[in-house]
């Protein structure tokens, strides 16, 4: 019983982290039609920046500074890269972000080396939060959930309750009209791209020390968030939310179960499960969980 409870909590905290990543990706995709292949690289940059800042100043400033730095990089990429290739179409944009992911990974290799860096959970968040029936739950997991939920609620409020949020929502569906009303739509794009990058960066700050900060982390988490976007339905935030929690829980449970089917234990099969889920879903429901577009 306590196993189920602790694993569910772990799964939800991982799922929320995945949703911080996939929400930024989904927002950018539905706004600009660009699938940012380098999104997971922004996640990695967030973790490395946080490591660097926390070594110099401390973890709490890093929580703010690292996402802002990643947002700045994201905006530069949008302004000087994506906007240039936009005229060649969506495939060129996807290829551009693909090349960028290559470049960021190599730059991380060059600057921080090929091994994992020692990015640790700060001592004040290290320790058990509470005990349930003998097993303990770490504070940091609770902190991760707190940060993700706060961030997501504030994003939701910003999108639905503020003026700029309304402009962004309008630009999602009617960019020409919004432009005609005198709003600078390219700047809105830049802000949204930077915002998505900042979300990924924040996920990196809190995920980097919960898991491990190494040059392979982008390649490890990247395919998972793309699977989430496909499973949830391209461009659907609600679908991405459900898919994130689903895949977060599936992976957490699978790793800790030691049942075996046909000589292969579930824990061994864990890395395959998200992709299998995607393939099965595509066979039976090609538009994804909450998707609207069939094409």
């Amino acid at each position: 019983m306590e196993f189920v409870l602790v694993q569910t909590l772990n799964g939800i905290s991982y799922g929320l982290l995945l949703f911080m990543l996939s929400s930024g990706l989904t927002l950018v995709f539905s706004l600009m039609g660009v699938l940012n292949f380098a999104h997971a690289s922004f996640y990695m940059l967030g973790a490395y920046f946080a490591y660097q800042v926390s070594v110099k100043i401390g973890f709490w400033p890093a929580l703010v500074i690292a996402p802002l730095l990643v947002a700045a990089i994201g905006m530069l990429v949008e302004r000087w890269g994506l906007r240039t290739v936009h005229k060649y179409g969506h495939v060129a944009e996807l290829l551009f972000t693909f090349g960028l992911a290559y470049l960021i990974e190599e730059a991380v290799h060059l600057i921080w080396g090929r091994l994992a860096v020692e990015y640790r959970v700060p001592p004040e968040l290290d320790g058990p939060l509470f005990h349930i029936m003998g097993s303990q739950y770490p504070i940091y997991r609770g902190f991760m959930m707190l940060v993700s939920v706060t961030m997501l609620v504030s994003i939701w409020l910003a999108l639905t309750r503020t003026r700029i949020g309304l402009v962004i929502q309008a630009a999602l569906t009617h960019p020409q009209t919004v432009e005609a009303l005198g709003h600078n739509v390219p700047r809105v794009f830049m802000l949204v791209f930077g915002g998505g990058a900042a979300l990924a960066g924040l996920a990196g700050v809190i995920g980097g020390n919960a898991f491990v900060t190494e040059p392979g982390m982008a390649a490890a988490v990247g395919p998972i968030i793309f699977v989430i976007v496909v499973v949830g339905g391209m461009g659907s935030l609600a679908g991405a939310f459900i898919a994130s929690l689903l895949i977060g829980c599936v992976q957490t449970f699978a790793v800790s179960l030691d049942w075996a089917i046909g000589g292969i234990s579930i824990a061994q099969a864990a890395p395959v499960l998200p992709y299998l889920l995607m393939v099965l879903l595509l066979i039976f429901r090609p538009k994804g969980l909450m998707g609207t577009r069939e094409g």
């Binding site: 060649y88 730059a107 060059l110 395919p223 395959v272 998200p274 992709y275 393939v279």
Partner: protein, 419 residues
């Protein structure tokens, strides 16, 4: 029967290609160059098969290594069976095993992936690629785990003195298959399927109105492309005598995408150029510097930004100018631009190598370039290289303006003459 004029240019081009493939090892006989060319031949098939998706079918795939990799795995198992005498098959026909394996997996996975087009197809192909890669670590019996599966290509009795032990014999085997596959893939572009693939790429809605099932066209194209990818996988298995999980990894899939794009997606011969350049980058440059992936990534990004048609488009753009005998006017601006680019590149390389020396623990931080040696921990070399980089970029910007001014003038006069 329909009258068709003999396409002389095409015959000349294909004969020349065959001649180059035949004569290359006679001209460059060093063993290093021979292995390089063998790898190039394999990569050419792989890149061409990839372009059947991206260039001809408009399908951006991030998981094409699945087909070449699984083809390689089945070939390595087949070759081991041949070695044990359990399966009589001459080595030159092994690529057929790889090709059929690729085709089978193309049919299996293609059924899922080709249900969607565009960005979603790209993501699903990535997911399928990751799935196969994850399986490769899960099923060590078939995939050989971390170490992979090794084999020995010298099986059975030598036939006419050919045992396929020496590298030169492997080269000719690869060259033969490379030529056959090139011709087959070119022929495919001329078939109704090849044409329909282009139509589905350009305007799927209209293709559906004409009465074609776009999903079906994509599926056929992918299955055939997977066949050729499998052939290239089998050839790489013969060449390296080892197949490991790296063969199905995202690194391979990304590599073939980069190679094809650099060469030029819109043209049939683009991927051939791209494969040659890519293998050169991977094999030759990786011997010099550990930062070669960074340079390759930068090169790829620059191509995406400024030459989306790849190297092939840059070459083809010059042909009308050369025909009009005006290429001489472009020589000076081109030379200036190349010089400026070299200066900028020198600055960049200096800085990248210094960063690398500083980050790697225990590396020698003293670099020696052109007899000059300096320490990466000191400030002056940083300032010097940054200055070189900035100066090079500024010069490049001016040179680019010069090039485009000359270019526009020539184009204008050519157009006014045509009109």
């Amino acid at each position: 029967m329909r009258y068709q004029p003999l396409n002389l240019g095409r015959w000349v081009l294909w004969s020349a290609t065959a001649l180059v493939l035949l004569a290359a090892p006679q001209i460059f006989s060093a063993s290093f160059v021979l292995t390089l060319m063998t790898q190039m031949g394999t990569m050419i098939i792989f890149a061409l098969s990839y372009n059947m998706l991206l260039g001809q079918g408009g399908m951006l795939s991030f998981g094409h290594a699945v087909y070449s990799g699984l083809g390689a795995y089945l070939s390595v198992h087949a070759l081991n069976l041949v070695g044990h005498g359990a399966f009589p098959l001459p080595l030159p026909l092994l690529p057929l095993v790889g090709g059929l394996a690729g085709l089978a997996f193309g049919i299996l996975f293609g059924y899922v992936t080709t249900r969607r087009a565009g960005t979603t197809f790209a993501l699903i192909s990535l997911g399928v690629g990751e799935m196969v890669f994850a399986c490769s670590l899960m099923l060590p019996g078939f995939f050989g785990g971390e170490a992979g599966i090794s084999t020995n290509r010298v099986v059975g009795q030598p036939f006419l003195g050919i045992s396929f032990g020496p590298a030169i014999q492997v080269y000719y085997l690869v060259a033969f298959w490379c030529f056959v596959c090139m011709a087959a893939m070119f022929a495919l572009t001329q078939t109704p399927l090849g044409r329909m693939a282009n139509a589905v790429r350009d305007n799927p809605e209209r293709a559906e109105f004409v009465g074609y099932n776009t999903q079906h066209v994509r599926f056929l194209q992918l299955a055939l492309s997977a066949f050729f990818a499998g052939v290239s996988g089998a050839l790489s298995c013969i060449n390296f005598e080892i197949v490991s999980a790296e063969n199905v990894s995202a690194i391979r899939s990304g590599g073939v995408l980069v190679a094809t794009f650099i060469g030029g997606v819109p043209f049939f011969f683009g991927p051939i150029v791209g494969a040659v350049v890519y293998i050169f980058f991977v094999v030759a440059l990786s011997g010099f510097t550990k930062a070669w992936l960074l340079y390759l990534g930068l090169f790829f990004l620059l191509m995406v930004l400024y030459a989306p048609g790849g190297i092939a488009s840059i070459i083809l753009m010059q042909i009308p100018v050369i025909r009009a005998r005006r290429f001489g006017e472009l020589l000076l601006p081109y030379a200036l631009a190349a010089a400026a680019a070299l200066v900028a590149l020198a600055g960049l390389i200096g800085m990248v190598e210094m960063v690398y020396r500083l980050s790697e623990q225990g590396a020698n931080t003293v670099l020696t370039v052109f007899g000059l040696s300096f320490d990466a921990r000191a400030t002056p070399p940083w300032i010097a290289f940054a200055a070189v980089l900035v100066a090079g970029l500024a010069a490049l910007r001016h040179a680019a303006r010069f090039v485009s001014a000359r270019w526009d003038a020539i184009q204008q006069s050519l157009q006014s003459r045509a009109a």
